[in-house]
């Protein structure tokens, strides 16, 4: 199915993503930041849908916005929020950090502008109906070993998180 009004939806979702990312980085209250980050992640799920990646969009909503951010919100119950309002928001080297980020952004822009001519003009036709099926075949055949290693990584992360958060080991 051909998407309709692609430019409008792209700029809408991109604007939402960038503005809420800025809110996420600049708010002093981490709960507000987490809510803004959820909006960014949902907007990028919409962008995945526009790029013919419905499986990734679903993973983004279920796992990122639904799983990881809930974990963040749980941990924020430990943080004393009233105390955060009275102390400084930025660290001492924030000016240097801003300069480093601006330099990285400059290199990104240079790289994208120089490389834009080499990108293919004709886009392949990706069927979105069989996207999940083809991705599953790819994950369980071509990337079988990497998939198993990723499951091992998640197991180690679970054990590590429990060990570190426990009061007594």
């Amino acid at each position: 199915m051909m998407p309709v009004a692609t430019a409008f939806f792209f700029y809408l979702l991109a604007g939402i993503a960038v503005i809420s990312a800025l809110i996420c980085v600049t708010k002093i209250n981490p709960v507000h930041s987490a809510l803004a980050l959820i909006v960014t992640l949902l907007a990028s799920a919409g962008l995945y849908l526009m790029l013919y990646a419905p499986f990734m969009a679903g993973v983004q909503i279920v796992l990122y916005a639904g799983g990881i951010l809930v974990m963040f919100l749980f941990v924020m119950m430990l943080v004393n929020i009233e105390q955060l309002y009275t102390e400084k928001m930025l660290n001492r080297q924030w000016l240097l950090g801003l300069a480093a980020a601006a330099g990285l952004g400059y290199f990104f822009v240079r790289a994208i502008l120089r490389g834009a001519g080499t990108l293919p003009k004709v886009l392949p036709n990706l069927p979105e109906g069989s996207n999940t099926q083809e991705l599953g075949i790819l994950l369980y055949q071509n990337y079988m070993f990497a998939f198993e290693v990723a499951s091992l990584l998640l197991l180690v992360a679970i054990v590590g998180a429990v060990v570190m958060a426990k009061r007594r080991v």
């Binding site: 928001m89 990337y143 990723a150 998640l154």
Partner: protein, 101 residues
């Protein structure tokens, strides 16, 4: 309006990555630094999916691994944060200075 090419997605991902990097490098609160890292991983994911629009499905397979990695990183990072908060009663990054001299 112009037609949307994958280059537009790459520019958007670069912007989101730089915003996340600003958060990592300038904020003191560890929770917000971890969220900025998630933002950077999400920008990398957007890049991978945009490239998979041009070159086939392999980029999406890699972005599945990036999401799994982000989940593992968040779990371990928040576990470290809980252990640290129990010992020092703070969540500020620049007060984590036991190994500094």
């Amino acid at each position: 309006m112009l037609a949307i090419a994958p280059v537009h997605y790459l520019v958007l991902a670069a912007i989101l990555f730089v915003i996340g990097m600003v958060g990592v490098l300038t904020r003191r609160n560890v929770v917000i630094i971890l969220m900025s890292i998630e933002l950077m991983l999400n920008a990398a994911n957007l890049n991978l999916v945009a490239f998979s629009r041009m070159y086939g499905l392999h980029g999406q397979a890699f972005s599945v691994f990036v999401v799994a990695d982000a989940a593992a990183e968040a779990a371990v990072g928040l576990g470290i944060l809980i252990a640290f908060f129990r010992n020092r009663e703070t969540v500020n990054m620049d007060e984590v200075d036991l190994l500094k001299w």
